[in-house]
Amino acid sequence: MQMKEYKPLIVAFCCNWCSYAGADLAGNNRLNYPAEVKIIRVPCSCRVNPMFILRAFQRGADGVIICGCHPGDCHYTSGNYFTRRRMAALFSMLDFLGIEKERTRVEWVSAAEGAKFAATMNDFVEKVVSLGENKRLEDLRCKR
């Protein structure tokens, strides 16, 4: 394999009502963040199944971030409260399995927070780059 500059692959799940709009606002304001971030639109952060996250890691993602409305502002009133519990439990479990904790994150980004969206992505990518390639989840069952 040819050595090249390490470019992480980041999957960002954004809820349609707040965070996806926040990402659009970052675009409107031309706020740069790394092209490695690829956004998948979901109606609500509570639509994000832990299986999607694991699948992304499985297929080579180096970091997965979930963005939703701030607690209390969910378009569907309670969706992000469930997200918060589900992801707290899942992240704690991944940590328990020894997966680097910097690879997963939940961030509340409102439709007005374009700057926060860009800053979050810059920060997240930076953290993931410092970890390097994601091998652990792939290797979890392959003892060498």
Binding site: Y81, F82, R85, A88, S92, M93, E100, R141
Partner: protein
Amino acid sequence: MQKITKEMLIDKATELLNNGTVSLVLGWKKGEYDYDVTPGVFESVEELKKDFVFGDFSAANLSKYLVKKTEKLEGKILVFLKPCDTYSFNQLLTEHRFDREKVYAVGVQCDGMVDIEKVKKIAGDGILSVDCNGEDIVVKTLYNDDMTIAKADVLAERCANCKSKKHVAYDELLGESGEVIDSNRFDEVEKLEKMTADERFAFWQNELSKCIRCNACRDACPACTCEKCVFNNPNSGVENKSPANSFEEKLFHIIRAYHVAGRCTDCGECSRVCPQNIPLHLLNRKFIKDINEFYGEYQAGAEVGSRAPLVDYTLNDLEPGEVFDRGDENA
């Protein structure tokens, strides 16, 4: 405390069959050896007399079998439940998985089950018979003299760390029902939490690499009663088509633990049935411990109709990013 014998159970089952209360009996069936006891369904007194057993190896949690057995049942089925089994029983009722009216539940006092692997470690292979007389068990083997081992030394892990001797559901009791126990069941989880991430990874890589994906854990788990498992569901996107390098092959255990999180009663069947002796219960206990710490003490199955923590919320729950900060404190 009296000792509960298999005869007492057979007598009870006979009585209930004969007086027409039940038409089927769900119990434990003898195998080739004393220690390979399996769940069994008995339709007659003759069958009971022939194959029914109860003892230190009647470990199987029978509650799960009620889901299928009551589906087309006319009348009632008798089921014997140890204290930890009653939690699964309640959890299944919470999830409307069977009709309570179709079940006659007899709670059975439990003095802890023996782990045959532990016995083998002490007594060696070629075990012919294992007899219990209270505090000790007597092992006869092909190669050695009879051996007497303290039962406490060969108790299954889940019984050594028993969380409750209390029957939380039954129509009738055989023997005594005890109390919820302040056990040390989270010690092992805590030990892992205190390791570095690298050490934890090494631990789990070592354990999970042994998995042969036989699905025994799933098949025995009383929380895994899905009509169709997500891993068999072609629309789920995670169906197991070719085992090599497929998604589910690697992440099966995480997803499985996640799916039962908040619903798992910590009955320990997953680890008991694992042919590779992977400590799968630690994954479940990690979720239980986290839930207790994040959202307040919760014991699945302690009562019927309680709301599982992951389908609930409060306005001030902890943020997902905070779960790690806690971890650092432990480190």
